[in-house]
Symmetry: C2
Subunit: 296 residues, 2 copies
């Protein structure tokens, strides 16, 4: 059983049909009924040697990344950050790293109005781990955008440009697309949304699986980050851009202006089939099942 | 800077005066305004080799402990568990351990009505980590019991018996005192409460510091777990019992019956001084500053 199979096994365990749980495991955030509104909850971790090279990045960037990954999950629901908690495990003798991690966590949290309200710190004889949980809310009158609402015929859009995130260091400096998501739901009616962490090919598969649709991409439309090629845009991962679906006319309006200063590109459309196809200059075929696996 | 100094430094950073945050870092849980009620949030982790010996305990017990530690924090506010999320880091090649961890997390969560609504799993070449965040609610009309409300003259009470938790394996099998806390607030008006994780001496100090009081313990009154001595009861830690303060007459009523089948003992009383004193057969002196540090 590998990591992915284990995650799938856990999701199949069910048992979250309790009162107050509107969406359980399997979307970017869980969605809970809370008082007169809903609450979003997401958790994500950053491990030294897996998600961040501490020697290269430093503690502050590692902390920033740990927070920003979670904020990206809130963005993927079109939510608004509320508060965060963090647990940090520090290599014994390197407690100063804790201050850097906290500074980075807080820098990202404050930039997006998400105060850190609690945490746990422990030391051990192993590398750094940072686990962050972020709670979010929805703006009044808005529903969270799930992965499962895409319809055949919807256009597929993405913010920003894809590929080479890790190599370029963009995995450490990316901006969670909260402002973009907020503008999107104010201007259009997205049917489904996900943030790109595993790579376009894998994350589009997640969105199609959740929605019961297929998809057809135009290779030439995929926006490439500087130095990236198509394979990297499909599979490198850690882009932390938003992938969303919406009616074609809305997509054209959004792509014409971008969102909150970030370009938006139409990549293709959702289909009634269940397969993922891509058309390039040589013809149409299955979308390569590439995707990004963490390095260790 | 050691672990404790780092935690204190983080708490001093402040910056949690935002709207909706009723209690920030420093209590058993953060307290948030949420719709028409309050939300409790706590995070705690279990690390292989620090908080659990996996070879001795197995994955299921480790998962159970990770969840139960957080439920104990909810109990310390007299809250009710709502939902949990967990992030797990598994040694590469030991993904089967993930199933055991999840089973343990879920066993404890289900026993206390706290479904797991999300998580993150990663693998790496280092030992197991399990970080759990639990959200709680307050029963209608109840306020969370903070550490800061104790008054001079209040009696000091504890549930259960203390000491030798780690040596006896009670750290793996303890029952979060949720039922005891619920009965307590239905029958009495506790002024302050904390769960005992660092040992009676340290945790009483936390409670006194938060309340601006001192305390005076009667050594002979401290309930000792089987095989434990006074030093162990003061300093071993990981008891996960509730330490609380309340008016003397209420304390006597509660001690006479126990709470939810668990014995309650009066240990002493809160004072106007700021020091912590203990009286034993040889006289009265400062409470030993012993306390439990994790093993690595």
């Amino acid at each position: 059983m590998n990591e992915r199979e284990l995650i799938n096994w856990i999701r199949q365990q069910g048992g979250t049909d309790s009162e107050g749980i509107l969406v359980g495991p399997g979307d970017d955030c869980a969605v809970l009924a809370s008082g007169d509104g809903v609450l979003l909850v997401t958790v994500d971790q950053v491990l030294a040697g897996v998600h961040v090279d501490i020697a290269r990045a430093g503690g502050r960037a590692a902390g920033r990344k740990a927070m920003a990954r979670n904020l990206s999950d809130i963005a993927a629901m079109a939510g608004v950050p509320f508060v965060a908690v963090a647990s940090v495990t520090l290599p014994k003798g390197d407690e100063a790293l804790g201050c850097e991690i906290y500074a980075g966590l807080r820098e990202a949290a404050e930039a997006f109005g998400c105060p850190i309200v609690g945490g746990d710190v422990a030391t051990w004889d192993n590398p750094l781990t940072v686990s962050v949980t972020v709670l979010g809310k929805m703006p009044a009158g808005r529903e969270p955008i799930l992965r499962s609402g895409a319809r055949a015929g919807d256009a597929i859009c993405v913010t920003g440009a894809l590929g080479r995130s890790w190599q370029s260091g963009r995995d450490l400096t990316f901006t969670p697309r909260l402002a973009e998501a907020a503008e999107l739901v104010s201007r259009a009616t997205p049917s489904a949304m996900i943030d790109l962490s595993d790579g376009l090919a894998r994350d589009l598969r997640h969105l199609c699986d959740a929605s019961g649709t297929g998809a057809h991409l135009q290779a030439g439309a995929i926006p490439l980050a500087p130095g990236a090629d198509l394979a990297g845009a499909l599979g490198d991962g850690e882009d932390y851009e938003l992938l969303f679906t919406l009616p074609r006319a809305e997509a054209e309006a959004v792509a014409a202006t971008g969102l909150a200063g970030t370009p938006v590109t139409i990549l293709g459309e959702m289909t009634t089939a269940t397969e993922l196809l891509m058309t390039d200059s040589t013809g149409t075929g299955p979308l390569p099942e590439t995707g990004w696996e963490h390095r260790t």
